[in-house]
Symmetry: C2
Subunit: 324 residues, 2 copies
Amino acid sequence: MVPVTAADVAAVHPRLAAHVRRTPVLELRLGDLGLTGEVAHAPLVAKLDLLQPTGSFKVRGAVALLTDPALQERLRAAGVIAASGGNFGLAVAWAAARLGVTATVVVPSSSPRAKLDPIAALGAELVLVDGVYADAFAAAEGSRAASGAVLAHAYDQPQVVAGQGTSVRELLASAERLDTVLVACGGGGLLAGTIAAVADRIRVVAVETHGTATLHTALAAGQPVDVVVSGQSASSLGARRIGAHAWAVRDRLAAALLVTDTEVADAQRRLWQAARLVAEPGGAVALAALTSGRYRPAADERIGVLLCGANTDPGSVAPVPPPR
Amino acid sequence: MVPVTAADVAAVHPRLAAHVRRTPVLELRLGDLGLTGEVAHAPLVAKLDLLQPTGSFKVRGAVALLTDPALQERLRAAGVIAASGGNFGLAVAWAAARLGVTATVVVPSSSPRAKLDPIAALGAELVLVDGVYADAFAAAEGSRAASGAVLAHAYDQPQVVAGQGTSVRELLASAERLDTVLVACGGGGLLAGTIAAVADRIRVVAVETHGTATLHTALAAGQPVDVVVSGQSASSLGARRIGAHAWAVRDRLAAALLVTDTEVADAQRRLWQAARLVAEPGGAVALAALTSGRYRPAADERIGVLLCGANTDPGSVAPVPPPR
């Protein structure tokens, strides 16, 4: 496996311009999020990738893959196939519809209809497979082998990793100066892309929940191993193990932090209170490292954070209403 | 009454920089919002003032008033008083807390606690008055006369109008080129500020709902008259009559449009679907003119829209979940 480089991210970036949004950034102070003391005046530059089409950054990787010049012949002949009933499946369906590619999305039959209907509405063929995600992925691999379709991997494929790296690349271009960026890690596609794009210039900090700790578990074991996934962030960060791309660049991480589900829910509520933004649990994991105090900025440190997904019931992020 | 000018807006703008956000803009295509046909490729530049502290653009006017050099002596001696149980009351309480000014907010006793608790939490003194908004305003005027406090008017005061005009001023500075901006009208503070700031350069279109049609009613009557307020946008756009500042510049409007409550709710849902943004009804009224087809852009026309408030239950903007 050849690690993705900053040059790879730069090379795919122009292919995305006609399709995904160059999402805006919002500059906050940590005090806006309810933090007190010395850190209250520390700036925070939030990249609003939760405003992307389909509600997550995943469209970046999907478009990067489907616009790869080397794949066009296969894509025209046999289409794309992905295994995901979540944000990546939706992103592949969206990108395929936009680019005129036939898409098949294989999902576990246990997936809630609310997640599947938008994928079907985009024209993708839905294939339901009994079992869990791993069974769906095995079925997708088998189908790819038979049909010649391009297999899209949610987090461990060079084009996808390079596409995800464009988010932090835009963040750095928008912000005056950043010292550190906080990024959520599930399978590690966004993390690997972020490291490739900017780890030579700023510190990259990975954040996971205890229930989706693929990176921490691998670091403890000395190699990628399967984890048991749980918690509210599992729907977007619940990969079974860290991807090879993220694992290959672990030494370039400035830190790897863990947050709890409660801290993530608190970060979601603070973000709504401070700026009326809705983040799904996985989309607020990186922010939770700050709001929980698990990441403590140095004096004058300028922090960026990738707010990467909003696919949740928006009512779930509002504070508990006061008693009447 | 001396109308607010572009120079007035430019003059207050630097006073706001340390307090309110220079909110980002998001460029969409009308097709992203589900519009089809020729207009699908038309660009739409949305000013995200719904990401402001307190969830609405109203902090602009409140800060503009409370930082007026000519008022500092009175503000230090006797504070500020406002009548509003809604977005303006919250904005005045927030700005006063930030600037160290004593604030009193007079509200009708019928106001829901969910609206009042955040105002009290910011340290403002809440005064409950029996009756409706007009009774609260009369009480605030009486109290101001007795105490010498500065009275803050939600939409018809030069400093407030000039402050609201900074939103579109930033929009024009951010966007490559705009031909037209759509703006909601209630009492007309944002509208008057917008006209002052940019009507010499681009077309300004006012949008109201049938239940909050202060401008249309005044235009029909030939003068400002009281209206009976109703509908879901009333909590933010429900002024009893158009302000003198907006009325004075009505001839500079390119158009004045009406939308229905159903069209506003549809615009809220489309905005969530397209970009995962939550707008309150009043915050989506201007957008509704586009999504309903009541405003039809010309070929190549570049439209801006002020998304000006998000103070609603975020769960209310999600599409109806599909049947299981």
